[in-house]
């Protein structure tokens, strides 16, 4: 009787100790694009509309992305994928683009998920969605993003600082933006840290890019529900009045001319090359450093 009791207890201890070893699974890390990239933004008064009359449409939203890291803090178990891909988010399949795949990952929660937007280089993999010339431009100019598109407004005007307003129904932009960023540790939309890997299957993790941050009126470090989207500042940046906004034009304009209180706030903005936002170009680079998320709307601190 006493021996069988001891044996039962030993069996219980064995089963309990083995319950933490629950198998392994694969993790597929994919790149996803928010609708604000693929469908653009619409002028209007709804929560995510552009309030100052401009529609925004992208023709290219190319990014150099990679540097995936998955880590369990308590054990130090870590999985990394250092490869960088140059991808056009306007041409992603519905299921996204696989950035990395980790096989044989012990089932557990990996509470640190980081990913990077990187400076395009010759060692990056140019995906089929990206033209050679575009990749070459990004590499030559040290860019992380190549974003092109247009603003349209049937009654639009360009009102550059210090000049009279001129009619402008369409204002185009084609910007090669250096904004290297590490996003993470990321939380999913419910606030859970990182990724919970299941045994025996494939766990999906999505690094999500948003396309509306350039048009935010402030720099949220969390909830974006109260953000107002404005595009007039970009139309006003066409100081040459030729219908296209260039980096040089953005560099020539002070942030204090384009982003005035109370319509805008720069509180909490990332630094750019170690300094605060001083020009329109600094704003573009700073906002580009905030647009990485996780599993759709999950938050990722930027560094």
């Amino acid at each position: 009787m006493q021996r069988s009791l001891i044996q039962s207890l030993l069996l219980l201890v064995f089963l309990t100790s083995c319950s933490s070893a629950t198998g392994v699974g694969d993790v597929s890390v994919r790149l996803g694009a928010e609708d604000s990239i693929t469908l653009g933004l619409t002028a209007g008064s709804a929560a995510e509309d552009v309030v100052d009359g401009w529609d925004v449409t992208y023709s290219k939203f190319i990014v150099a992305v990679g540097g995936i890291s998955l880590r369990q803090q308590s054990t130090g178990t870590q999985f990394d994928s250092l490869g960088v891909h140059i991808v056009d988010l306007m041409a992603l399949p519905a299921t996204g683009f696989e950035l990395a795949r980790f096989a044989g990952v012990p089932a557990a929660r990996y509470d640190v998920f980081n990913w990077q937007i990187a400076i395009a280089s010759a060692s990056a993999t140019r995906e089929a969605s990206v033209a050679e010339a575009d990749a070459a431009r990004m590499i030559a100019d040290g860019c992380t993003y190549l974003i092109a598109g247009e603003l349209t407004n049937a009654t639009g005007q360009t009102c550059s600082p210090g000049t009279a307003c001129v009619d402008a129904r369409t204002v185009r932009f084609d910007l090669c933006i250096p904004a290297a960023t590490t996003f993470g540790p990321c939380n999913d939309p419910d606030g859970a840290a990182g990724v919970a890997v299941s045994a025996g299957g494939v766990t999906n993790a999505e690094a999500t890019l948003h396309g509306d941050h350039l048009f935010f009126n402030l720099f949220p470090l969390g909830d974006e529900a109260t953000i107002v989207r404005r595009a007039q500042w970009l139309a006003n940046s066409d100081t040459g009045h030729d219908g296209i906004v260039t980096r040089a034009e953005l560099e020539s304009l002070q942030a204090a001319q384009l982003f005035t209180s109370p319509n805008y706030s720069l509180a909490g903005a990332p630094t750019v090359d170690g300094h605060g936002i001083e020009t329109g170009w600094d704003w573009v680079r700073a906002q580009a450093r905030t647009q990485g998320h996780f599993q759709g709307e999950g938050e990722c601190p930027w560094n």
Binding site: L218, A256, G268, G276, I277, P301
Partner: protein, 247 residues
């Protein structure tokens, strides 16, 4: 014999409890906070000389957060706070007491704060918490000299938060491991008002003087100079915070 064992067991239990509390408890921290300027009053801009003769600033409240991005949503509970709202002379390099830091031990990695104007969640608009300076966050005045011509200027900044529940200044990255020993030290906030004022557009000042036909101008919110100083105070040139011996 059994009574001795009982007392020993009780003694061991109390000892174990005390040790356990020492290892897992957090301590309250109280420390004085001071504000100081750099003592600099002049700066050059494109051959013009800008002189600052007044820089009164209101600071507070402030919240110190464990996260590296102090903001309403990423720091719902602060590790430490300075609830005092105080005015100080930002041109003086002599530290001025402005309040008390109250918190618990642990590492803060960023802070957020107001310049005397806060927008509470329960309020319909931002409100100044200190009647000094006419409800403004800061009042500056001085002059600018160009080729012998001197124009006086003044500037009253309202650093209002952009929305309810949000601070005027967010995500200022400063790291410190707060501990009970900090009670014998002081936290000194240093501001550089001349750095802020150096961002004014002196061409705008002289043009405004020409238009007004007077050698004294008020730089209101409609001016680029005002907006540039506001951006400096709320984003690009935040104060620094350092722990040291009490002044």
């Amino acid at each position: 014999m059994s009574r001795r064992r009982s007392w020993m067991a009780l003694l061991l239990a109390v000892l174990a409890w005390a040790l356990g509390c020492e290892q897992t408890g957090r301590s309250h921290v109280l420390a004085p906070v001071y504000a100081a300027g750099t003592g600099v009053r002049d700066v050059s801009q494109n051959g013009d000389t800008i002189h600052v003769d007044r820089a009164q600033v209101v600071f507070g409240p402030a919240y110190f957060c464990a996260t590296s991005s102090a903001d309403r949503d990423l720091c719902p509970t602060a590790l430490a706070e300075v609830l005092d709202v105080s005015e100080f002379d930002a041109l003086s390099a002599t530290p001025t007491p402005i309040g008390t830091l109250r918190g618990t031990s642990g590492t803060y990695r960023s802070l957020m704060f107001d310049w005397g104007i806060s927008w509470l969640l329960s309020a319909s608009r931002p409100e100044s918490t200190l009647p000094a300076l006419g409800g403004h966050s800061a009042v500056f005045s001085g002059s600018v000299t160009r080729a012998g011509r001197v124009v006086s200027w003044s500037l009253s900044i309202d650093a209002s938060p952009a929305e309810a529940g949000r601070p005027a200044v967010a995500g200022v990255r400063e790291t410190h491991a707060l501990e009970p020993a900090d009670a014998s030290r002081a936290l000194v906030m240093t501001v550089d008002p001349v750095d802020w004022i150096s961002r004014v557009d002196t061409n705008e000042i002289f043009s405004a003087a020409d238009v007004a036909g007077a050698e004294s101008v008020v730089l209101g919110p409609e001016t680029t100079s005002y907006q540039a100083v506001l951006i400096a105070m709320t984003s690009s040139a935040p104060p620094t915070f350092e722990w040291g011996t009490r002044p």
